[in-house]
């Protein structure tokens, strides 16, 4: 049985696409046959992060509308053997994603894939609702910042009332908090919500904390999912998150600021 995981947030620009790329790459790297789907119709970006933008011929909407087969639209990743990308349409309206159409594609993918990762668009409207509707699990990407936390809570409300699992009275969608762009220095200075604060407010299990890191921009510049930067803090934090997603016990890392010398503490404190 394929597992469908939505990467969602409500608020835009918090790191959903970055996360979708790394989580799907991490799952595939462990041998799971994985497909990552871009639900951001009209604002396709996953192709750039996955470095396959020049290989897009057909897209998700083409498949829904019967203009291409799934095999024609799926792009096989060049780095990780068992990873595939289904790009979003750049030219259609979000409404082109119909519930029946999405279901048809997911069902077909579920026949051969172990994991289906859905990269949600921002917002709480149609596109975001389509991305989360069929999910078994949800990774709620949140930045330690007031509007992001509030929007995450709204998305949790939608997962609990407007997903297939909630409507059909099945077991609820399994929720995971992924706190990204975390800056322990600023947390220490009382300028940023701590991981404990966000956990307390949202009250869902913590999947991981991804530090704010320059590596992320460097990796996206080159079309490299940051998880493949094995030596980097952000890459390792994503790898830990993949482990936890698969049920492994991993201690949380990168939560504390680098130790500072006496003078910098004295003057910056």
């Amino acid at each position: 049985m394929a597992k469908i995981i939505v990467v969602t947030s409500g608020k835009g620009g918090v790191g959903k696409t970055t996360t979708s790329a790394s989580i799907s790459t991490g799952l595939a790297r462990r041998g799971f046959k994985t497909v990552v789907i871009d639900f951001d119709v009209g604002l396709r970006n996953l192709d750039l992060i996955m470095n396959c933008e020049r290989r897009v011929v057909y897209d998700f909407v083409n498949v829904i509308q019967g203009e291409a087969s799934l095999n024609q639209a799926l792009i096989k990743d060049k780095r990780v053997e068992t990873l595939y990308i289904l790009p979003a349409s750049q030219t259609r309206e979000k409404e082109a994603l119909t519930q029946e159409g999405v279901e048809k594609v997911l069902n077909e993918l579920a026949e051969t894939f172990d994991y289906i990762v859905c990269d949600s668009p921002a917002g709480i409207e149609h596109g975001a609702q389509m991305a989360l509707y069929y999910a078994d699990e949800a990774i709620v990407v949140t930045n330690p910042e007031v509007s992001s936390v509030r929007d995450s809570d709204r998305i949790l409300g939608i997962l609990q009332s407007k997903s297939r699992r909630s409507e059909m009275g099945l077991d609820p969608v399994k929720e995971h908090l992924l706190l990204t762009r975390y800056n322990p220095d600023r947390v220490d200075r009382g300028e940023m919500l701590s991981v404990g604060d966000v956990e307390e407010i949202l009250a869902i299990p913590l999947l991981g904390v991804i530090p704010e890191s320059q590596i992320v921009l460097n990796a996206s510049n080159q079309g490299l999912p940051v998880i493949l930067e094995d030596d980097s803090d952000a890459g390792q934090a994503y790898e830990d998150a993949v482990g936890r997603l698969l049920g492994e016990e991993r201690e949380h890392r990168f939560l504390t600021a680098a130790k500072k010398g006496f003078f910098s503490r004295m003057f910056k404190g």
């Binding site: 007031v146 509030r150 701590s194």
Partner: protein, 85 residues
């Protein structure tokens, strides 16, 4: 309190402010989420009725539904202005 903490505490801890504000708004919005769709309309009509007798502002009438397993309680809070002639 250590020597360093003393200097730290002089600067406002904005993260604490953020946390408190979030706790309040998130609790409020969660409450609203579980409310039936007709509540805002009910609230507007109640305000209109009360206004026939007393001059009140919109935010002086609060309507909430508390749902329990075996019964639901509709809670209506009306704040009246202090001096009524």
């Amino acid at each position: 309190m250590s020597f360093f903490d003393y200097f730290k505490s002089k600067k406002k801890n904005t993260a604490n402010v953020a946390k408190e504000r979030l706790q309040i708004i998130v609790a409020h919005e969660r409450g609203m989420r579980d409310q039936p769709d007709y509540l805002p309309q009910l609230q507007q009509e109640l305000i209109a009725v009360i206004r026939k007798y007393v001059q009140i502002d919109d935010d002086m009438v609060q309507v909430e539904l508390d749902r329990n397993d075996d019964c639901s309680v509709l809670e209506l809070n009306v704040t009246l202005p202090e001096h009524q002639q």
